[in-house]
Subunit: 200 residues, 2 copies
């Protein structure tokens, strides 16, 4: 059975839990507390030298980290992964966009509000500026297409849903983002959808 | 014929040029100057709303952005992409590591030295701290394996080579990174290798 190492606060971890639920894959869950340093222990670093969750461990001891690489692995041969080569690359294009242009701003602004002290206003403003830029790109795309790649629900949607649906926790206001709000509803309506914090 | 939009200063663009050269794929090159705002024109934003190079354009007008998604596309069905599902996901794991934990520090430190004014020391120190953390993860891995995924040269190596081989331009000192330096030599020795700035 697969073992998922995760922290329930993590949107990156939620991506994996959502995919596992929608694919009907049973797994064992090991919860770690990032803020208490539980991903920086020698035992965990031996499994993932980059010291990050989520991480998937296989029965033979092999490990796989990086949320979007785990999504790729889980989705192979399922409807969550496009069949066409261009569509596959386009799904990955949005998953790389998510990690480079979206998560460092939308997720990190949220993370600032989960700290013991309030965020530094200038640092938060910087996250908002670039986070809104990412949301603008998404809003434009969703005005032309119902999902991010291949014209249907794929792991690219899961990757972008994870932190977008809790953007308000980082004080992003989605009121003006009509297309994003409609897409969030379409994602929530997918069969087998589970909320953040779902257990196996 | 494929058209690549790129800026010769970009390591992300170099990844694509290197893969195209090693795969023997002919292409047309359109060079844009990031610093002069040539990726923020209306014409370019119509092709890539995220306003970034590299971007690949197909004869039918379809476009593909994000360097590592382009590498995925080009490598399908070639020796640069692993055959096994776990190895494929593991290659992507290193490519997501590159975009999240390496490029924002190793590439951005270099970029600071390409600006008209010298970098702010505190900002540079922050880039060095996290950049060295990424290099430490790579150094440990390369003490156990000759390449990043599947035990052989793949697009994961191309992705990580692009900015690591010019890390000195951001004042990173690789003297203590013996495994990385040996791996850089192995990458340079691959058939069809071309240097940064290579033209079609």
């Amino acid at each position: 059975m697969l073992t998922l190492y995760d922290d329930p606060i993590s949107g990156n971890g939620y991506k994996v839990r959502l995919a596992l639920a929608q694919l009907g894959i049973r797994y064992r869950l090991v919860e770690l507390d990032i803020l208490r340093g539980e991903t920086r222990t020698a035992a965990f670093l031996a499994k993932n030298p980059n010291g990050k969750i989520p991480m998937l461990e296989f029965d033979d001891g092999r490990c796989l980290s990086e949320s979007n690489a785990i999504l790729y692995y889980l989705a192979q041969g399922t409807p969550l992964w496009p069949a066409d080569r261009y569509d596959q690359a386009d799904a990955l294009r949005w998953m790389f966009f998510e990690q480079y242009s979206h998560e460092p701003y939308v997720a990190v602004a949220r993370f600032m509000f989960h700290q013991p002290t309030p965020p530094d206003p200038a640092a938060l403003a910087g996250k908002h500026k670039r986070g809104y830029a990412a949301l603008d790109v998404m809003e434009g795309h969703l005005g032309r297409q119902p999902y991010f790649a291949a014209g249907r629900y794929t792991v690219a949607d899961i990757a972008l849903y994870a932190y977008t649906h809790v953007a308000d926790e980082g004080r992003f206001d989605l009121a003006a983002y009509r297309n994003i709000r409609a897409w969030l509803e379409r994602v929530r309506a997918q069969p087998g959808h589970v909320a953040m914090g779902a257990k196996p």
